[in-house]
């Protein structure tokens, strides 16, 4: 690499900048008066259509994030980085430096005459002497730990420096690798680049040279097009995170979520498409019901059904307003049902595991092994007798619950959770009390 003072020693500097953020464009030019930037018009999250992203295979059917946060801004940011890489490939550069538009350096990189400062020249010497594919000149954290590679650079520990893709350089061959493998997007840009630590030469400055303006303020005051603006106001098309109690915001698009401790890759897995778990195949466990009884009251209901449904016959059930938790798990493991259908998308995790100290990994097994079918196969239950119809009752489903109850014929048993919530409607429709209620407030009626 020769001096290339106007591009900090690299072939080009690409700056990702939204068209509507001229203020930032002006700020970065002012902050680095001697540098020659190639601006890349960023893709704006406000103009993206979530379904369109999925349909055109730009967005993966699930998303992995260390914090479980997504927003349209995250997708847009990811696509903008790819756009910048593609531009660099098309420009035929040997290497390129990529900046987000809100960067600054607390250190002096150039003298008044544009020459590099001794400190930056020292860093550049390191860069020229190292073998690298990706180099980060800054991360969110001021200091990055790892195995020392040189005076200024370190080989970071995987998953310890994923935050920040605001200032990094990529070599030519690596540009093709990262661009060709990014679609459909399943990581934010910084988390995506982190993955290459496992396969390529990724180096990080021990002390960040380039930082983001937002790192200087509390996150609630940050001016971030990626996360905070629309997400915080709650009117973004997609926005998701956990609150302090671990509950999830905005489930309009997310079908279910796997917590990091539930997931082998230690990231939150946010799933955008309907579950397609396939036919339940787990082998029978003769003691399963007894085992489960230790954990959850729904087993009383299941024990009741197992005694009252004929052994050896094929039994089907339909779950209404399914949660991604307890009933899903136990219906599958009970081994009573050959077919389990569900209507409506899952409404998400609840807190049963926390209360009962049930391991999330157990629930993961349930996710992967219960019997579910796609919507188009749901017609099957309308034509065939249903052994059991189960409602996950919540206050805001009551209106729908009442309408539903009038529809179903050809069902042997009907039951659900939260009898206290639904009892007036149940009495109104069936003019009777349930055949049985259980200690966990589940109920069952024989039709």
């Amino acid at each position: 690499m020769d001096l290339k003072q106007s591009t900090l020693g690299f072939d080009k500097i690409y700056v990702i900048n939204l068209k509507r953020r001229m203020d930032r464009r002006m700020d970065i030019v002012k902050a680095f008066p001697h540098l020659d930037f190639t601006f890349i018009e960023a893709i704006d999250g406000q103009n993206l259509d979530f379904k369109d992203l999925i349909n055109t295979n730009k967005l993966n059917s699930y998303f992995l994030d260390p914090h479980g946060m997504i927003s349209m801004g995250v997708f847009a940011c990811a696509l903008s980085h790819k756009k910048a890489w593609d531009q660099a490939i098309s420009d035929g550069v040997e290497n390129a430096l990529f900046f987000e538009d809100d960067v600054f350096s607390p250190f002096l990189l150039q003298e008044d005459n544009g020459n590099f400062t001794p400190q930056y020249k020292d860093i550049l010497d390191d860069i020229n002497n190292l073998e690298w594919d990706i180099i980060h000149l800054g991360k969110k954290r001021l200091n990055t730990v790892g195995i020392s590679a040189s005076k200024h650079f370190t080989f970071p520990r995987f998953n310890h420096s994923y935050e920040g893709a605001h200032a990094y350089a990529v070599k030519k061959d690596m540009l093709k690798t990262i661009s060709n493998n990014y679609l459909p997007v399943k990581f934010a840009a910084d988390v995506y680049l982190e993955q290459y630590i496992n396969t390529h030469q990724v180096l990080v400055l021990k002390e960040s040279l380039i930082q983001q303006v937002n790192d200087l303020v509390e996150s609630e005051h940050a001016d971030s097009d990626t996360y905070f603006n629309e997400y915080r106001e709650g009117d973004g098309d997609v926005g998701l995170s956990f609150d302090e109690e671990g509950k999830v915001f905005n489930r309009d698009i997310v079908y279910y979520i796997k917590h990091p401790k539930d997931f082998l890759d230690l990231y939150v897995k946010i799933v955008f498409n309907e579950p397609k778990f396939g036919v339940q195949k787990f082998n029978p466990h003769p003691d399963k019901l007894e085992f489960n009884k230790q954990f959850f009251g729904i087993n009383e209901l299941l024990l009741f059904l197992s005694k009252n449904l004929k052994e050896g016959e094929i039994h089907s059930m339909l779950e209404m307003y399914p949660h991604s938790g307890e009933s899903t798990f136990f219906f599958g493991c009970s081994n009573i049902f050959s077919y389990i259908y569900y209507l409506n998308k899952t409404v998400g995790e609840d807190s049963f595991n926390q209360k009962l100290n049930l391991d999330w990994k157990d629930i993961k097994i349930a996710f992967n092994n219960n019997t579910y079918f796609f919507k188009d196969k749901l017609k099957k239950y309308e034509q065939q007798p249903l052994s059991f119809l189960y409602y996950n009752l919540r206050n805001n489903d009551l209106e729908e619950f009442e309408k539903d109850l009038t529809k179903h014929n050809n069902v042997k048993f009907i039951g659900g959770s939260n009898y206290d919530i639904g009892k007036n409607i149940i009495k109104k429709i069936y003019n009777t009390k349930p055949l049985k209620t259980f200690t966990d407030n589940s109920w069952v009626i024989e039709l």
Binding site: I147, S148, L264
Partner: protein, 345 residues
Amino acid sequence: MKICLVTNYLNKGYTEEIEILNQLKITLKLSSSDVVDFSNANKVYDINNDYTHVLILLDYHITSYKYILNFISELTLPKTFIIDSIPEVEEMLDKQFTGRYSATKDFYFPTIQKESWNKLYLLADSFIFYNDIDYLEFTRTYDLENIKKEIIPPSLGKKEDIVFNFQNVIKNKNIGFIGSPSYSKGIFHYGYLHDQNPTYNFSMYGSHGKNPLKNESIANHITTNCNNSKFCGRLKDKNKFYLNNFVYYDFAIYSPFSYFMYKSLINGVIPIISKNTPSYQYLPNYPFASEYMDISSFNQQLLNIENTPVSELIEIMSMYVEHLSNTLNDDIIKNIYYKFLKSTI
């Protein structure tokens, strides 16, 4: 025979383990779809339907024990565990390092308890070990009786490719190492070697490995305290490594199969190994073997290599490469695998 390999090594950034895994795929002619991880529990039923044998290769860095236990217990085919390292031994060495050398005295070893391993190993129908020493240690460590086992080391490639590259035998002051800079690989002890013989340059290639925090501290300790030593990250150009380095550093305290030591030997980098280790088992009577855990003896071997004429080194190494070519090639190893797996039905 249709073999499926189930492993939790996929997508991990290890160096030697991934190379051995890839070599195993080639040796047994497994396609990518024949190698699965634990991410989809339903996969277990496809395996039961589509294959005849299952090989299980587990990284001891397990994060989802119950899940993996469930998965393996659902496999109805003959299950053969490949024991590529013994977690208890690794843990013991980790404790040893922390107790003797670590300033912080913290102790965290990333694996599950011995009882849990025992429960997992009880699911096995048979075991494959890389060497006898591991087999004996394994049976001493776990409560498993009369296990069916075979000693099968990894292959080093096709017989015709295991040919000594004598052109790379060029005397210089460069010592090389590939792998993770761990205590068990003897990297910490390089500091003592450097004290005795500071004239050499030491280049470590690889990644953080299974115990990233400890390995990081060891690598940084060496690069900080030993002049002319550096950690270079992932090895991008193997030929350059073989050409630049004269000696391969294998002062392993525990290494069931030092894959890159053998590869380096084949490619003209002269290894120094230790007696009473698996490396010495596969290179019997190797002349440049130090006493176990004796850095002075290691240094003596370094001097011995230095004083041996290149022509003689080439002669010695050619003999050992031929031995490796005849014993650790794909065909031989594949046949042993097939014969053993057939016997497990």
